[in-house]
Symmetry: C4
Subunit: 231 residues, 4 copies
């Protein structure tokens, strides 16, 4: 079971590169094992070219290495905090993808400017506040997780499956690592279209009823997009 | 006959991905059988990677499934309304391609700023008005078709083979699905060049006589672009 | 001899696509045979995918078809006028490449903003005036050549091997078709960098002495870039 | 030993093309042999397609050709001055990569707008002053090296491994040619994200404590990013 998860987390890390969201070692993906609650995560600073499934690191929810010869990603404490806080999510990715990172560096939420956005995010893609000096100097990666959770507030993390960390970049999640990658790809394109739209002079979000329509067409009880699920 | 159409509509859907106009399942293509009037359309929410020609759905002009194990694209009612209203068109595609969607989100027509545009569109690429709350909440996809038709007014759909749906994205069409893809590719590049041109500070459309010259060089009785048609 | 030229002009047309300067049939390349003065040019409106070397059209300097089953590019009269006027050039390409076309649509010269530009163009890349109604309605393609020549004035066409046609796009040339493609690739990147530079707020051209230095480092008697030419 | 260096410098030159940082012959890479102090550098104006490892030129620190049938890159005097001045660097690359060159043409430092930047540069990526007429007309390539060194001042070249030459483009370096390429790739993406961020309206650099945190997380004694080094 955990061997399958190692393969899928490994694949998710490679997919970030394949989709053009990550260069060098600027990203990481992790997944949570539903049975044991163990986390599989990318090792720190290992080149994507030489990385193998067995390089993945298995840690417990407190961050102790359970299996693996490498140190986990330096962002592991951020991942762990999100997993502990949101029982619904099973995969997390972090990237420095170009357009999403540009919005993060600008310190701005990405407003829902069209139905592409509304199909995937029930409202703006939120940007956190900046961390203060204490939060940066001590337990930086944990505090990164804390401002994400603070910014989400009572938003359902599966209805808004990404947050921009101010002056940093996006964290995205989903039911598993594969879905987290899927959301990271969607976010980058949504951030890109939003950038061009803003340059063309439009900043006002779509009407609330259009946001509702598109989000609920794809998500929740009244959804009628896609095929009927088996069973 | 309809088997050929299934293959060509399947191919048109894949071509949207190949040309970079569609990621995930953010698009759809359909074609109309000239003899029977039946419509072949992409199934809803099926991944492009696993899709096969036999996954295409055949519906009659009223939207009833005639053949196929899947539900048709949620945008099928929009396609059907366009087919019913315009007897000349035989293929329709819908995408969220980056630059065309940015203009749609900005809620602006794409002005004809050069001969690239004039070669393909006899005038601006029109953008619809926004749908109101009633139109969104009831028969949304049909109303999407209605605002396209309302915006086109008495424009020949083959002289302006694309419309931007406000806050949404482009619908493109042609004599068949292949030509609709061709026009979607042209539209995206035209939208991109127009974006850069506007950023450089130019917004005024080309002279009417230049628009006439380029459009009629390629289209209609006086056309002298391309090779003589056989027969 | 002319068979070699047909192959190289064919290849030049394909290279425009390979380098991302041309989609659909939005471009053409030609070359001049040094011995006979005959011109080999792309046929009009033929898809790049199905095109073969034998589809190239051979015309004499007055535009009469000497060999070939197809009609030549509709832009052939523009090519011919440039060949007749400039004995030094042996190849011409026309594209609608994205950034160069954006500058053409904006109706602006591309100013020499850095050494990349100065390495290839001895001064701005000039943009023509607009054609007037008479010039568009009668002998349009010949008049396109005339405004290019008018705009170049007494500039050496090999020192400034591209002109932007207002509201249209670039024409580029060189000693042969291959060099014309080379210049079209350089122009597109120079146009792109210039676009970003202008958005960053800088519009003033480089100092004349830097322009001189870089251009003459690569071109003319004092050139010291590259390897010594054999013989 | 020097044969290995020739191969790695050859590969570094090809990698500049592979990563999209160089078209035509718009770039060069060099490396320094630790034992002998000899420099291996790209030959001038040789196409990347036909280039072989044996085309690399070996020069001594004063620029005299020690081995090789070709002339070295015209930028060799700039490389040599940097090697002589900074004993810590073992590889240098020069490119005209799109976004970094746009900042250079704008004559602006790239401000550290986020953690992507802070992970790689301990402060802004500096842009030199313009060269004056005398500096351009006499010993231009040496003077290019001099303004880079003047601009760096007492900055550690390995803490800020790139400088933009005003109206020209970036020079990047590292412990060897491979690391110089790595830094050139990072610079281009950082320049790109910075461009979009500035267009979104944000120009203020990140807080000093965040810059410190991210730079020192990856570099120096307290670094905890990546795996422990063997030995």
């Amino acid at each position: 079971m955990i061997e399958e998860l190692k393969k899928s987390v490994f694949q998710a890390n490679l997919d970030l590169v394949k989709h053009g969201l990550v260069i060098h070692t600027w990203g990481n993906a992790s997944g949570r094992d539903k049975t044991t609650g163990l986390i599989v995560i990318k090792p720190s600073g290992i080149s994507y070219k030489s990385m193998r499934p067995d390089d993945m690191v298995i840690i417990n929810p407190e961050g102790k290495i359970v299996e693996g010869k490498n140190k986990p990603s330096t962002d592991a404490p951020t991942h762990l905090l999100l997993y502990r806080n949101y029982s619904s999510i099973g995969g997390i990715v972090h990237t420095h993808s170009t357009y999403a990172t540009s919005w993060a560096q600008a310190g701005e939420d990405i407003p829902p400017l069209g139905t592409t956005h509304a199909d995937h995010y029930y409202g703006e893609v939120p940007c956190t506040r900046k961390l203060n000096e204490n939060e940066v100097n001590s337990e930086y990666e944990i505090n990164t997780g804390k401002v994400i959770i603070e910014r989400l507030g009572n938003i359902d993390p599966l209805a808004v499956p990404s947050v921009l960390v101010n002056c940093h970049g996006p964290f995205c999640w989903g039911l598993d690592a594969e879905e987290a990658v899927y959301n990271a790809v969607a976010l980058e394109e949504i951030a890109r279209i939003a950038f061009y739209t803003v340059v063309l002079g439009k900043k006002e979000p779509v009407d609330k009823f259009l946001l509702d329509k598109h989000f609920h067409r794809k998500h929740g009880k009244g959804a009628y997009y896609g095929q009927d699920k088996p069973k």
